[in-house]
Amino acid sequence: MRVLVRAAAPVTSEEELGDIAEEYARGATPVWVCRQLLSAVGRGSPRRMSRRSGAMVFAQTFADLRLALRTLRRHPGFALAAIAPIALGVGLNTAGFSMFDAIALQPVASPGADQLVTVYQNFQGVKKRRVHGARRMFSFPEYRTLRDGTRSLTGLAAFTRHWTVTLGGDAPREVNGALVSCNYFDVLRIVPALGAGFTSATCDAADAPPAVVLSHSLWTAAFASDRAIVGQTISLNGRAVTVTGVAPEGFGGIDIAQVSFFVPLSMQAVLRPEDRFYLDPDTSWLTLVGRRNAGRTMAQVRAELGLVAGEIDRQQPGRTTTLIVEPARSLSMPEMRRGIFQLAAVISAAFGLVLLIACANVANLLLARGAARQKEIAVRLSLGVPRGRLIRQLMTESLLIASTGTIAGSLLARWSFQGLLALLVSLAPNQVPALRLDAGVNLHVIAFAIAITGVTSLAFGLVPALQASRLDIQTLLNRDTAGAGRRSAGWLRGSLIGVQAAVCTVLMISAALLLRAAYVTETLDPGFDYRDVAVVSFDTRGLGFAPPQAATFRRMLVDRLRGLPGVESIAEAGKTPLSAGDMQTSVRRADGEAWQEIDFNIVSPEYFAVVRVPIVRGRTFTASENAGPTRTVIVTEATARRFWPGEDPIGRTLRMALGPDRDTPLEVVGVASDAQVARIADTTTPCMYLPADAESADGRHLLVRSSADRAALARSVRAIARDLAPGLVVSVAPLEQNLDLWRGLSRVIAGVSGSLSLVALLMAAVGIYGVVAFVVSRRLREMGIRMILGAALGDVRRLVLRQTLRPVVIGLIVGIAAAAAASRVLESVLFGISPLDPISFAAAPLLLLAIAIAAGLTPTRRLRSIEPSAALRRD
């Protein structure tokens, strides 16, 4: 308490402090003391305070804050009208920033995460490169060179993206895991909750037995938290693997996609024997994470690793490598970060526009209030209060509104974020792994909230404060307050209305485009028949089947399924129509030079009949299509138009790239109708179909057209699969689900955009209503004079409306132009409609204009009830 009293000494008077100290000595409570100190601040001795100008400013600021609080308490309607839109605008922006921060800016979940760095590479001059993941990743030999050559990192570890394998047991399931280097847990300083993790014995040696570290969540879910699990063997893809540890709770890797288990890199060949690239120097598959030496800066680490990368270049003449070394984040891949940043920019722009409308609304409110207080402010200025002091006082009020709005908005953001995340998770396809998203209140979010408070208070408070504090002798001397304030204030109000109208137009047109795109996806015909088709998915590699075994299993499964009641036809496909993920390769005409990217699918001959995509020219595949030296291909109509415009493509040849120096000829035997098989509303991207290789072990889907009940069919399929291959994980889903994924995405985007534009429209309408109401109330005397001189009520109303709506119309025109530029950004999600769709560009501005007219007409109804003579007497 004594400290508090001493702290208040510069800004309170001696007698007050003495009284407070005396009462405290007599038993006053600390609460009482604080109240008294608050009441006394600012009344300090002018002589003493002038010696300490900081104390004077503090005292004045405190007094301004108290005055602002009192003002807002006395005018709760104004306070609510000002704080609510700011809370909404700030809430949206804070929620968006929290999401972006959680995805892209938060450090990884590891002790000392600020010392961790991720490493990727760009290289040229490499003839052939296989890619499992991304080209920027490293091969194992490249990783080893960097690991052994660096001194600026205490350790460099490697890990893969998540791999899906089958966990065997009583209830086989698919689980996602990561392959990691032996020093992975050491570099990250993650201590296993059970067991020793990976040691030299279980990891480094060439003949080390297969080992696995389970995640805590998998250990709990699949092994009932059995503390005796360490040392036991489990089955992964049909292989026996020894459990050597359990990771601590909450750790599922440092990537944003969490994993359920960790195995050494050397187990790549064990888990995927048909695809051996563990020691291959030409396969990109590893992401690197290292821990900086204390005392080494990022620049030093980059320089040293760059030198070590030179060693890799020397081993491959002609190669030049540049490394990308960045602080480790959950989302570390450069392309994905670029994508996220671009998406965040678009979303921030939209949310920022809503905040802009809110600020314009509040600025108009403050302008109106400033106009009402003109006399009071003019008197204060003429009594000698410095203009700066007055501006500071008005800005304190703005800061208080902004701060309160930020706190309310941040709370709103916190609650709505969880709901939004739950919504997105519910719409995500099942294949999406669990994501680590921690959007708590952290320094980033707090800093963002403080920054947005400052910016918004300046945005809506500065101009009205400057406006209100300008001394106008005319106003001081003249009792006539008609004219609704100075001309400059009127121009400002008009500009703010215009800005709101422009921003609202952009948001509404964007929402209209997205809503129309959502409607198109709901109603379009995708060009194939998805009804009564079930997709049966399985991966025989999950049981460790070799290719001949896999082919036998598939044949037996198809034979047994054909015998089920209701089954009409069955086809195999590498990718089902409209499923996530692309299969692409490069082709060119046999007589042409330029290679082109093309979507492709690998299908059995029955595919076109099952999904009812007609063959419009030529034929479908035969059963032994792959036997000859030249492979066959069926192209779509769009592909035929692209490569042989106006010609018959049957019998023509395409060449398909198999590697940098190899390609193979493909003879066109058929042309299939254009269908939206790769992306919704897309029938123009070239696509081709290759015949399925019966002997391949690759993951395949069966498309089963059946009139039987879906649930019964699914049960039968699983029973047959269990009978043929116990332990194989089989999923059965309707083909319609693929369409639902696109529809769901479209619905969410349209829903969010629609809600945003609705909020913007509401705020703009309220803003226009407020301005017109204000203008009417200030110009009643002028209206009275006009009506006495013969003007009809309708004429007077039209005059007010015309002047108020002029900036709205200007704003609409500017908004339409801005929307035309902005809609290009949305092109990738505008399925089936043009970014300049005329219906959207006409409907949205017309709707806004209608609402603006209605919002403007309502307050002018008041003119009906005024007596012209009574209006003349108004001051």
């Binding site: 004594r2 402090l17 009284d19 100290a21 006394a40």
Partner: protein
């Protein structure tokens, strides 16, 4: 009452407290007196603002006394009412009494 010699309600109460407590009284005592008689809380800041105003108008005079240990070594500020203050109080009292005439019964009956 001459023009300009107006007493607000609170100014009236503070002057009465200074008069009752006698010349030489000080802020804390005045505050305690007002709180106990009016039964409403009064902050130190509000009291001294009013006392400053009364001193500016010439109704009271103040001076600083010796510091005391129980006040953390700070001085008391003593007050005494001045003749102008007494006259203004009387005028204000007369005006109020004139307005109250005949109304006591109505107020006590709760009409």
């Amino acid at each position: 009452m001459a023009k300009g010699e107006h007493l607000g309600e609170f100014e009236h109460i503070v002057l009465l407290a200074v008069l009752r407590l006698g010349n030489g009284t000080y802020g804390a005592a005045i505050r305690r007196e007002i709180e106990s008689r009016t039964r409403r809380p009064l902050t130190v800041g509000a009291l001294y603002r009013t006392l400053d105003r009364l001193e500016t108008k010439g109704y009271v005079r103040s001076w600083f006394g010796d510091p005391t240990p129980e006040r953390g070594g700070r001085s008391k500020r003593h007050f005494e009412i001045r003749p102008l203050g007494v006259r203004t109080l009387r005028a204000s009292h007369e005006a109020l009494t004139a307005m109250w005439e005949g109304l006591e019964a109505k107020v006590t009956r709760g009409a």
